[in-house]
Symmetry: C2
Subunit: 255 residues, 2 copies
Amino acid sequence: MTRIVALANQKGGVGKTTTAINLGASVAACERSVLIIDLDPQANATSGLGLPKNEEQSMYSVLVDGQSIAEIIRETELPALSIAPSSVDLVGAELELGGTERREFRLREALATIYGKFDYIFIDSPPSLSLLTINGLTAADSVLVPMQCEYFAIEGVAQLLNTIERVREGLNPALEIEGIALTMYDERMNLARQVADEVRNHFGEKVYKTIIPRNVRLGEAPSFGKPIILYDIRSRGSESYVNLAKEFIARAENI
Amino acid sequence: MTRIVALANQKGGVGKTTTAINLGASVAACERSVLIIDLDPQANATSGLGLPKNEEQSMYSVLVDGQSIAEIIRETELPALSIAPSSVDLVGAELELGGTERREFRLREALATIYGKFDYIFIDSPPSLSLLTINGLTAADSVLVPMQCEYFAIEGVAQLLNTIERVREGLNPALEIEGIALTMYDERMNLARQVADEVRNHFGEKVYKTIIPRNVRLGEAPSFGKPIILYDIRSRGSESYVNLAKEFIARAENI
Ligand SMILES: Nc1ncnc2c1ncn2[C@@H]1O[C@H](COP(=O)(O)OP(=O)(O)OP(=O)(O)O)[C@@H](O)[C@H]1O
Ligand SMILES: Nc1ncnc2c1ncn2[C@@H]1O[C@H](COP(=O)(O)OP(=O)(O)OP(=O)(O)O)[C@@H](O)[C@H]1O
Ligand SMILES: [Mg+2]
Ligand SMILES: [Mg+2]
């Protein structure tokens, strides 16, 4: 039983990768086996976990050349956390898959070959709603939306929900919304509270109670190639992602 | 004499739009006529200046339908600042232009029709290196790179410079680097200083001396549809973008 969760939001810099790494790591620390799929040509999740991003064996070779995904999966410092790395080659993937039959299903078909090997698979997406992100949404059971509590973040939600709807109708009827996670919350900003309230009014119970605060340690951790719980377990960043993981598991496992 | 500057960085949320709006506004306040081109389907620059983003007349109709760009230009609250708005339709533009002859030159050809009408044209790009951003780089005299002082920001630079080089070789031999602007600087973060030093070591004089600090007011201003200098002239956000404007003008006009 594997639950596949796509992290998606076309707005840039809202914490998709930071959430993929740290929610992934914190769920793994709760004794669940976790795989992170890095679907972003920027390969931030890959380097944020200390792996090189110019390897020949990557999500590029899986999606474009059809290499077996099991062959490219790498371990991380955390025993229960693995990653299928990206590489800069992935920049060309959308173009190269452009005319291919069933190009939206490449990831879905790859994940079918490892179904059951992990409790959770988190897919990190690029800041766009194009073919790579669509592959993530088509492969997933659900989508988790990291949302920064700022003005431009609110604006992009309608378009994202639109895309999710179109994927449901045309490609993946079972796609659900796992939840909305409020990220990079800055208490000094009046606007942050207003945005958080508006998101809760709109999405109700879907919004996780845990809010991830702005915390310098979260920005520093990837420069050491570590998730926050290995970099600074006592930080507010660690505390909040561990709480988010517990809330995530309780919801996903109906506890 | 118009100088066309593309704001580009494929990393998300590094301040491209915030710089397009506020450098644009601050340069306009220095008695230069400025046009902002919103090339991002998210249309953040458009809404951040208080305009609607679902209009029929937008950069979509210019790039895809060939509408005259002069017809879509709108005024803003600042007399010397205008904007060519984006719209959500632009999402489809890259696909629709996909097979078109000279699809990288659509913006360049449109800007040729208004050459000389503005002192400066700033082009806001989406967080990607695909066709819309390529149109911006092909149309521009130079590219200004907003860079956030965080780990993932450093990683993306090589790829951006690569793209600039390929545009020079194949599409726009005259493309220069206008400069690098350090944005969202958080003094509490050791990493920020290290990243800033590394950027200066690498790019030397190209890096503007003015650093834009993290300032809550900069995040609030777009929710009122205003540039920072109309929203809160006394804020550190205003002060820094005004200083950046002076530095920008001095460099661009060889003063
Ligand atoms: N809660 C936080 N506190 C402080 N810094 C954070 C926090 N969350 C993320 N960051 C930092 O903010 C930047 C943007 O975050 P991140 O890269 O995770 O966003 P993203 O949505 O994946 O961006 P992109 O759209 O480019 O993929 C990164 O430098 C990251 O380290
Ligand atoms: N110096 C700053 N201080 C505080 N907040 C800022 C600052 N600069 C930008 N912001 C806020 O940070 C968020 C990201 O900035 P912005 O949207 O300008 O980046 P971007 O590079 O255009 O993002 P995208 O890649 O999605 O186009 C926005 O909510 C913006 O209001
Ligand atoms: Mg990311
Ligand atoms: Mg932007």
